[in-house]
């Protein structure tokens, strides 16, 4: 047998056949890829079949991408099919954000962690790369690892890429029904109902793609009607109904719209729907097979940009981008961040840049975004400028702060000026130019200061991490503190002040004593991490206090009233905790804990919590009598059996 096959293989005809098979395989045979894959920066694993054609990989057949693992709480999954790189058949896109529950459940001899969170899914079919049949988008709320409620659901029917007839979008409260013409243009009245379908909250009246009127129900008897200027329809252009369209309408309507119709209601449903559609579009584009889902169309008047205006916009973008990069260089420089804590000049300049970012750059960034999205030609220029700067362009002055946080005017050197009350892009360009000049000045000034700072390569990275860490700590405290009760807020702000103080002291360490600086940087790193942990613990206190109170509360049936009332039991224990122990502990934080004391403090706090929960089920009559008489928090702690 072996001899026979060997003799056949030597025949010249067979060799030719093998060569043919080999080349055919090389050109057309399906191959399977199974391995790492990345879509829009999300790393995962993909499985798909493909074939090579003229050096190109053509996906052909089923496709599966998954970004999920045991510990991954943000899974992404994409499933569908390709035919020569064109999506066909049913596709399913899903993503989620989950938070594991604290407690594990014992199910079938294993511990199961249940999840809460949000699941988003988009499902629909493609016909030769065009969306076809019904596409459904859903956002579900997940509780206990089950779908607890549907938060958002849209259903749009496509035929060969064009959305047809009517579509619906529903949330927990509202239902939107809209109608489209065969060319995908918005038509007729789009209505937002309450979920029961009885009350109409908003009506948008379209006529062949043109939005004529928006009617909003303010209350049972009042309806606000916003009419749109219908002139210039000859210059109208059909565009996609997406966030950009809503931006355009918002600018057109800003004077009439005191209810901010584009911030909520029907508009927000359309925005959310368009966002999900765009996500699918960008994912498919990243897969090399672009599709278009957000294709409902609307007609808007066009206000072409003059050559002058085009030039203005180009210049504004250039000035903005330069300014943004200059500001970025200053604001992220670790050494400057440290130096500004002790050096008045650096403080003034650094804070001036922060001021410029807030006052000028944010709005310029928006304008630049509109330019990129190509929406400016659909917005009247005066409406655009008024929308961005309702009270005129910001005054030509820059304010900085000194090391103690007091405001100081930055002495502007440049002679560039601009007119504040304007409806011309030329003045915006002048302002952008002014901003760039001031930032250049500041950078030059800081350049001089920077020369005074001896570069310390070894500590640079540590310093950078340190500044970042302290920054995060302070941001977290700033966002949390305002909503906390008085005592806790003071404790949190004290921690923030302490972090500033520690950085300041660090900045004052002589540049020459590298070793000291290095060591201190290391210590502070640990200290900031512990402070972060302490912040996390502090903000749990109100909830834990509530839990304790609940544990010490009993339901009592009162015969006199025939009702159930809550009764606090062992009041002296809870009183001693709330009136003495907790204020005493928080006072310690307010007065400033050293780095070494933080861990001990946290341990004491946790021990107290545990002890109090234990005491709930013990006979505490004697203890309560003693607590009633005691007004020294340290003695109270001793009585509770918690070591300080």
């Amino acid at each position: 047998m072996f001899r026979l096959s060997l003799s056949i293989s030597k025949a010249p005809g067979f060799r030719l056949f093998c060569c043919l098979v080999f080349f055919c395989n090389l050109g057309f045979a399906q191959q399977i890829y199974n391995g790492d894959y990345e879509i829009l920066g999300v790393a995962g694993e993909a499985t798909y079949t493909y074939r090579l054609k003229e050096g190109d990989t053509l996906k052909n057949g089923p496709f599966l991408f998954q970004h999920s693992s045991q510990n991954n709480l943000d899974p992404v999954a994409i499933k569908g099919s390709f035919k020569n790189d064109i999506p066909v058949g049913l596709w399913h896109y899903s993503s989620g954000n989950y938070v594991p529950q604290k407690e594990k459940e014992f199910v079938d001899f294993s511990f199961v962690t249940r999840l809460d969170g949000i699941k988003k899914a988009v499902e629909g079919s493609y016909y030769e790369g065009l969306p076809d049949s019904t596409w459904t988008i859903t956002r579900d709320s997940i509780g206990d690892s089950k779908v607890s409620s549907n938060q958002f659901k849209s259903e749009i029917t496509y035929k060969e890429g064009i959305p047809q007839l009517s579509f619906t979008i529903e949330t927990t409260e509202n239902l939107l029904i809209g109608r489209l013409l065969r060319n995908a243009s918005a038509h007729d009245t789009w209505t937002l109902f309450t979920k029961d379908g009885i009350n109409e909250i908003e009506n948008w009246v379209f006529d062949n793609g043109v939005l004529r009127e928006v009617r909003i129900r303010v209350n049972d008897s009042v309806e606000k009607v916003l009419s749109f200027n219908q002139d210039k329809q000859e210059d109208a252009e059909l565009i996609y109904l997406d966030e950009n369209y809503l931006t355009i309408m918002e600018f057109g309507l800003q004077k009439q719209d005191t209810t901010h119709v584009f911030d909520h209601g029907l508009s927000s449903l359309l925005k959310e729907n368009a966002t999900y559609q765009h996500q699918v579009e960008t994912m498919m584009s990243d897969l090399g097979s672009p599709v278009k889902l957000a294709v409902m169309k609307v007609k808007v008047p066009r206000y072409d940009l003059s050559k002058e205006e085009e030039k203005n916009l180009t210049a504004i973008t250039e000035h903005y981008e330069k300014s943004r990069s200059l500001a970025g260089i200053v604001l992220t420089d670790t050494q400057l961040i440290l130096k500004k804590l002790t050096d008045q000049k650096v403080a003034l300049l650094y804070n001036a840049v922060e001021n410029i970012e807030q006052t000028y750059l944010k709005k310029l960034e928006k304008l630049n975004g509109y330019r990129k999205d190509e929406v400016i030609r659909f917005i009247k220029r005066d409406a655009l400028i008024e929308g961005l700067w309702p009270s005129g362009l910001p005054p030509r002055e820059v304010v900085g702060k000194d090391t103690s946080g007091l405001q100081v005017a930055y002495p502007v050197k440049t002679g560039l000026t601009y007119s504040r009350s304007t409806n011309k892009l030329q003045d915006v360009e002048d302002m952008a130019h002014f901003v760039e000049s001031v930032l250049t000045e500041i950078q030059d000034d800081l350049g001089l200061s920077l020369k005074n700072l001896k570069p310390q390569k070894q500590v640079d990275t540590k310093e950078e991490a340190l500044v970042q860490q302290a920054g995060q700590l302070k941001i977290r405290i700033d966002s949390l503190a305002p909503s906390q009760p008085d005592d806790l807020r003071k404790a949190l702000l004290a921690l923030k002040g302490r972090a500033d103080q520690q950085l300041q002291q660090y900045a004052l360490i002589d540049q020459d004593s590298l070793e000291t600086k290095n060591r201190r940087a290391g210590e502070l790193k640990i200290c900031f991490a512990e402070q972060q942990e302490l912040v996390d613990l502090l903000i749990q206190i109100p909830d834990e206090q509530e839990e304790l109170k609940e544990a010490y509360t009993e339901e009592v049936y009162v015969i006199f009233t025939a009702t159930i009332m809550d009764e606090q039991v062992k009041k002296h224990i809870i009183n001693a905790y709330e009136k003495q122990v907790l204020p005493y502990l928080l006072k310690q934080v307010q007065e400033g804990l050293s780095c070494e004391e933080i861990q001990d403090w946290m341990t004491t706090y946790r021990n107290i919590q545990d002890r109090l929960l234990q005491l709930r089920n013990e006979d505490t009559r004697r203890l309560e009598r003693k607590l009633k008489r005691e007004d020294n928090p340290q003695e109270v702690l001793k009585l509770l059996g918690v070591a300080l």
């Binding site: 009592v556 049936y557 009162v558 015969i559 006199f560 009233t561 025939a562 009702t563 159930i564 009332m565 809550d566 009764e567 039991v569 062992k570 234990q614 005491l615 089920n617 013990e618 006979d619 505490t620 009559r621 004697r622 203890l623 003693k626 009585l639 059996g641």
Partner: protein, 279 residues
């Protein structure tokens, strides 16, 4: 709802009680009587009551009702609190049928003091009662409404030298509201207002033309200190037919102070020996 049925039956009985078939037959006599007889109201008597009410929980469904009332009344020189009128001891065992319904059965020992300065009779006479009560609560928005039906079998004696103990039955219906003023419900810290009205009917061999013993109209303001303790105070206007002559009506103004307490004797938890704690 069984409670509704019972209430309806009682209200029907109450209506029938006012219809006197005997009178219907003697119509001409009534006409002639009304010409000569007219109802008369006695002067208002002013009183002050200090009442304690205890509901002492003894088991899951049973509770002990222990009430002591000190009732004062005016003398010629002192309004409201001039002298002690009655000391009232009311006890019973109550049964909690459900959260909204309870029943009770027990006895009363009332000590009646002779408050008539002109009387030659004894200073003190005891009065005995057996009583049973049916109470139904109904939530009404954030308030509670209560229907209380109380039936008493009463042996009492007047202070006249010739008087003997007589037996009467009393039928009492009270409607009461408790409306919280400063809290979402009746809960610790709640101040509540309680309008109450009660009709007391009586029957017995000696009850000839005075079935309406008392009508009581109250307004009370209460404060729930905690689930175990409530205080309240209020004012009551009451009137009713005298036993001797149905055309003569008593009238009273009464200030009342109430103390409600409800200890729980069941509790065994919190009495467990301490394991970890040695103080």
């Amino acid at each position: 709802m069984p409670s509704h049925k019972i209430i309806s039956l009682f209200l029907l009985a109450l209506t029938l009680a006012f219809v006197n078939p005997a009178r219907g037959q003697d119509k001409p006599d009534i006409d002639s009587e009304t010409e000569t007889r007219a109802s008369k109201y006695k002067d208002v008597k002013r009183k002050f009551w200090f009442n304690t009410y205890g509901n002492i929980r003894i088991s899951k469904r049973l509770f002990w009702i222990a009430q002591t009332h000190l009732r004062f009344e005016e003398t010629a020189g002192t309004p409201y609190v001039g002298q002690i009128g009655q000391i009232y001891n009311r006890h019973a065992i109550g049964y909690i049928y459900d959260k909204k319904t309870n029943f009770a059965l027990g006895g009363v020992l009332r000590l009646n003091f002779n408050t008539d300065p002109d009387s030659d009779g004894p200073d003190l006479l005891p009065e005995y009662r057996i009583w049973h009560q049916y109470q139904f609560a109904m939530p009404l928005y954030n308030a509670m409404a209560y229907h209380r039906i109380r039936i008493e079998h009463r042996w009492s004696k007047s202070f006249g030298e010739e008087d003997e103990y007589i037996f009467r039955n009393r039928y009492r219906y009270m409607f009461r509201l408790k409306v919280p003023l400063n809290k979402p419900g009746l809960q610790p810290g709640a101040l509540y207002i309680a309008p109450e009205s009660e009709v007391i009917l009586q029957s017995g061999k000696q009850v000839v033309d005075s079935p309406l013993e008392d009508v009581r109209l109250n307004a009370t303001l209460g404060y729930i200190i905690n689930p175990r303790l409530t205080v309240a105070g209020g004012f009551m206007y009451s009137f009713g037919q005298t036993l001797d002559d149905g055309s003569v009506y008593n009238q009273n103004y009464t200030f009342r102070i109430h103390l409600y307490f409800s200890p729980d004797l069941r509790k065994v938890k919190n009495k467990l020996p301490s394991v970890h704690f040695r103080d």
